[in-house]
């Protein structure tokens, strides 16, 4: 069920001994783990633990203070890798005065999509996030959840080999959340490597493997089952507290 090794050409991510400092402040400390090809890897951690910072290093828009991040065999940050990675930022970065279609058009052409293929792909991703009817609306008239979905659609637009999603399902209703997770599972099955951050525990259960982040340190890595078993608890939440040294 893990889709592990199902695709030889799938790309993995290796994070080795990564530190990230902002000024004197050490926000990430000796992070060392691997995301295997075609798996869904969840990064779990409380607010301020450094999830977004870590994810930006992997998306290639930031550089570690020390250590290396290797994506698909190439050390990041590298410009030519950016076209192979889909990134959905935590805050919706959309042009509010443009329509959804115009936003999609813009990002699609940045990724080199054009012509009929582009139009079809735009329709596909908008279908996926249930926004086809609101395609021509201005983004400023969108609700929070709609903006989130549009961001997700944009991240998937160019069929990236690696999809990095920073809290993708915030503000999205349960039914749609389920269908988005189904889609993510499909994508992973067809070889896309997916990295999501979340602090929703039941979403964590849906990941193939999890990394738990706390105060800039990776305190545990493993499948949800492994983590629960080794902490001798029944829920991810309890496991998280256990690894954090807070016995519940």
């Amino acid at each position: 069920m893990f889709g592990k090794g199902s695709r030889e050409e799938g790309w993995g991510i290796q994070v080795s001994h990564v530190d990230r400092k902002f000024g004197k402040r050490l926000v990430l400390q000796d992070i060392d783990f691997e995301v295997k090809p075609a798996e869904i890897f969840g990064l779990l951690g409380p607010s301020g633990s450094g999830k977004t910072t870590l994810v930006k290093l992997m998306a290639g828009i930031d550089r570690p203070t020390s250590g290396t991040v290797v994506v698909g065999g190439v050390q990041m940050p590298r410009l030519d890798m950016l076209g192979k990675i889909g990134y959905m930022a935590q805050s919706d970065a959309l042009y509010a005065e443009l329509t959804a279609k115009e936003n999609l058009d813009f990002f699609a052409s940045l990724f080199g999509l054009r012509g009929r293929g582009r139009r079809r792909r735009i329709e596909e991703v908008m279908e996926l996030v249930h926004l086809t009817d609101s395609m021509k609306k201005r983004v400023s008239t969108y609700s929070g959840g709609m903006k989130r979905r549009l961001s997700l659609a944009i991240a998937m637009l160019h069929r990236p080999r690696i999809l990095i999603l920073d809290e993708p399902t915030v503000g999205i209703d349960p039914a749609l959340r389920v269908s988005i997770w189904n889609e993510l599972r499909d994508m992973s099955q067809s070889g896309t490597t997916i990295l999501v951050t979340t602090h929703v525990m039941d979403e964590a259960e849906k990941c193939h493997r999890l990394g738990m982040l706390r105060d800039g340190r990776l305190i545990a890595v493993g499948t949800p089952g492994e983590l629960k078993a080794s902490a001798n608890v029944t829920t991810i939440e309890e496991a998280f507290l256990a690894f954090g040294g807070v016995r519940g």
Binding site: G60, I61, R78, G83, S91, D92, A93, L98, F106, L110
Partner: protein
């Protein structure tokens, strides 16, 4: 290709934002119209009071462009002066004219003294009364002050609105996180800068054409050179403004902070753009003008519009503006490193 995508996006944003569009197209026209109405008016006709002035002098005075009011005593004339009914009065003391001016407006003072001087010259045609023959190398006797500073004004608008609009839209790109999103795509840093320059450049060309056409054909501003040169100057000036605006926007955290650059960056340039005479300024201050893009832009504008000069005469100014733009573009590309290291 990616530059094109950016250009298309900037245009679409413009088209959706009618207000900004209007600001950039209509505001300059509105202000220029106002300025032309204010400064193109007829020369001021001083109101002069007379007290016991010989009839011959009064006749002479009446030939100048003044309106005369006669008063019975200096006291009543003084009262009239105090209430600003008249600008000056002439009385006769010991067989000589004595003039008292209201004096609070230098331009009125000058006009009155000029009239009196002309009157004096006309009444005593001695050896000092040699009339010079006056010809104009550039401009003409009919040239109004609007013709004189109009070119600088066109340059100013090209600069000001682009500076503000481009600066703020780049700032918004940063504050809304779209810049962060943009650098997560394979777009190169120079492509972002080039996209902005091309997108806004295209737009400001249209703005420039509109302003130039309006000033020359509708307001009748003096235009002795070729329009294409005028447009070239405007375009380079607005690219300088654009790149400076986007560069400075990286030091602002909000639209309001962007506005704070206006007194720092825009207003000083106005002083050096030829609205005021630079030659009377202190030497170090004159040097300051050398680092102000608007100084070169306005200089080239005047050369084209008033002196009717051609491309070869403004090429130095254009080169300096181009150099400014290139420096600011490089600075832009470098500051974008803050958002992505490759």
């Amino acid at each position: 290709m990616r530059v094109c995508a950016l250009v298309v996006r900037i245009w679409r944003q413009f088209l959706h934002d009618k207000r900004t569009l209007m600001l950039m197209l209509v505001a300059p026209i509105l202000i220029l119209t106002l300025v032309s109405l204010v400064f193109n008016g007829n020369t001021y006709k001083p109101k002069i009071g007379t007290v016991d002035v010989p009839a011959m002098v009064t006749q002479r005075l009446a030939q100048e462009d003044v309106s005369l009011v006669s008063y019975s005593s200096t006291n009543s004339a003084l009262e009239a002066l105090k209430t600003q009914t008249i600008d000056a009065y002439i009385s006769w003391q010991d067989g000589r004219p004595a003039v008292v001016l209201e004096g609070s407006d230098p331009s009125k003072n000058k006009a009155i003294l000029l009239d009196l001087q002309q009157m004096a010259e006309a009444s005593s045609p001695g050896p000092t009364g040699i009339q010079p023959k006056i010809t104009y190398l550039y401009g003409s006797a009919k040239m109004s002050s609007f013709d004189n500073f109009g070119p600088a004004l066109i340059g100013f608008f090209a600069f000001f609105f682009v500076f503000l609009v481009a600066g703020i839209s780049f700032l918004k790109e940063r504050t809304t996180g779209t810049l962060q999103r943009l650098v997560a795509t394979p777009i190169r840093r120079w492509e972002i800068v080039a996209g902005y320059v091309a997108g806004f450049g295209l737009f400001t060309t249209i703005q420039a054409i509109l302003i130039a056409w309006f000033c020359v054909d509708i307001l009748g501003m003096m235009m002795n050179g070729r329009l294409i040169n005028l447009l070239l100057i405007t375009l380079l000036l607005s690219i300088t403004a654009l790149t400076l605006g986007t560069f400075l926007s990286s030091f602002a955290n909000s639209e309001f902070q962007m506005m704070q650059f206006i007194p720092l960056v825009i207003v000083p340039q106005v002083f050096f753009s030829g609205l005021f005479n630079i030659d009377t300024m202190a030497v170090w201050l004159r040097w300051l003008s050398k680092i102000m893009p608007l100084y070169y832009g306005a200089d080239a504008m005047r050369n084209v519009m008033i002196r009717g000069k051609g491309f070869t005469d403004i090429v130095m100014d254009l080169a300096v503006l181009l150099a400014f733009s290139l420096v600011f573009m490089v600075l832009n590309v470098l500051t974008l490193r803050k958002y992505r290291h490759v």
